[in-house]
């Protein structure tokens, strides 16, 4: 307190403001000019391309994507019907779907923009002392009227985030590894982490995240600066 009282008040304020900035990441602010110009309201989430060996990655990440985007204020086309539509039209893989020219998607689904997700990691890996359930995703949002890139980002969710606190010697590690294997498989843990990863990827408002959409009370406000 002695130190603070020695400093002039403007200096104290500047110090406090820099504290506020403590939550911010180092990443430079996203350029939202294309996004703000496009003002998308309806989003088509494309079937996510899966680069992991787990076949549940596409349905898991796809099913969890609607919630963060809808809560961000967008209308999200129902993914199960979109899946059905693709299948009925002979589009059998996410790669094939993501290669469809954007004007065709616009014509068929009437969406303003499409969300192209890639799953880089999905599932539980088992080691002797620990198991890690990890979901890594990235996404691009493309304007279906112009083809312009409106936004891109990536996110990770991992069970290791929580495990770091509960280490209790070698035995504790072994026990928790076994418990996690059981829990991990029985309850489809990756699906839950897909929910966390998708919320981090597509939730709003977030620094450098997707801008709030028309149905959000935050619509039209300037992007988060921290």
């Amino acid at each position: 307190m002695k130190l603070i009282s020695l400093l002039p008040i403007p200096v104290v304020l500047v110090l406090l403001l820099s504290l506020l900035g403590g939550c911010a990441t180092k990443a430079p602010a996203y350029d939202y000019s294309a996004f703000q110009k496009a003002k998308p309201a309806t989003l088509l989430v494309m079937p996510p391309v899966n680069e992991s060996p787990d076949i549940k990655a596409t349905p898991g990440v796809w099913a969890q994507a609607t919630r963060p985007l809808a809560e961000a204020g967008y209308y999200v086309l129902p993914v199960t019907l979109v899946d059905e539509t693709f299948k009925q039209n002979g589009v059998s893989s996410p790669n094939e779907a993501q290669d469809i020219p954007y004007p065709k998607l616009r014509e068929f689904f009437g969406a303003d923009a499409a969300v192209y997700i890639r799953v880089k990691k999905y599932g539980t890996t088992y080691q002797v002392l620990a198991s890690d359930t990890r979901v890594e995703v990235d996404a691009r949002i493309l304007d279906l009227r112009t083809g312009a890139l409106l936004w891109q980002g990536n996110a990770v969710a991992s069970s290791a985030e929580q495990q770091q606190q509960q280490q209790g010697g070698l035995v504790g590690l072994l026990v928790s590894a076994v418990v996690q294997q059981i829990v991990g498989t029985a309850t489809d843990a990756a699906f839950n982490y897909a929910g966390i990863a998708d919320a981090r990827l597509l939730g709003s408002p977030r620094y450098n995240g997707v801008l709030p959409g028309p149905r959000s009370p935050l619509y039209g406000q300037p992007p988060q600066t921290q």
């Binding site: 603070i4 008040i9 406090l16 349905p59 919630r67 129902p78 408002p205």
Partner: protein
Amino acid sequence: MNPLLWARRVALGGGIAVLVGCAAKGPGPLYMWESFPKQQYEALQRDGYSPDDQIRLLEAHAEKARGAHAALPPGFRAHLGMLQLGAGNVDRARELWMAEKTAFPESAAYMDHLLKKLDAPAKTAKSENPA
């Protein structure tokens, strides 16, 4: 006013601002989700789920939302309509897809597409009928 006291107050206020800034507490959720993402997940996997059980579950979800005056998520009615169609309830499917359009006019283009297809198979069947 004592400058030390002032600094202390500013420091306290700043501390609270830091906490608030990190939490960034927004307004409540726009929709009642329940297990809807999980139902979609199961439907996307196609195998090992019962559409009939899911219809019952989602109808109960809709009932609960009505009781709580909460909004159903985008795509909820459309998804339920798809399940009803699968169960042979064409009229209920049509009703639900119309309801999706009413609740979310943004869905109109896609819903109209689906509604048009709903009546198309009958025509196709007729034309394919060897005369």
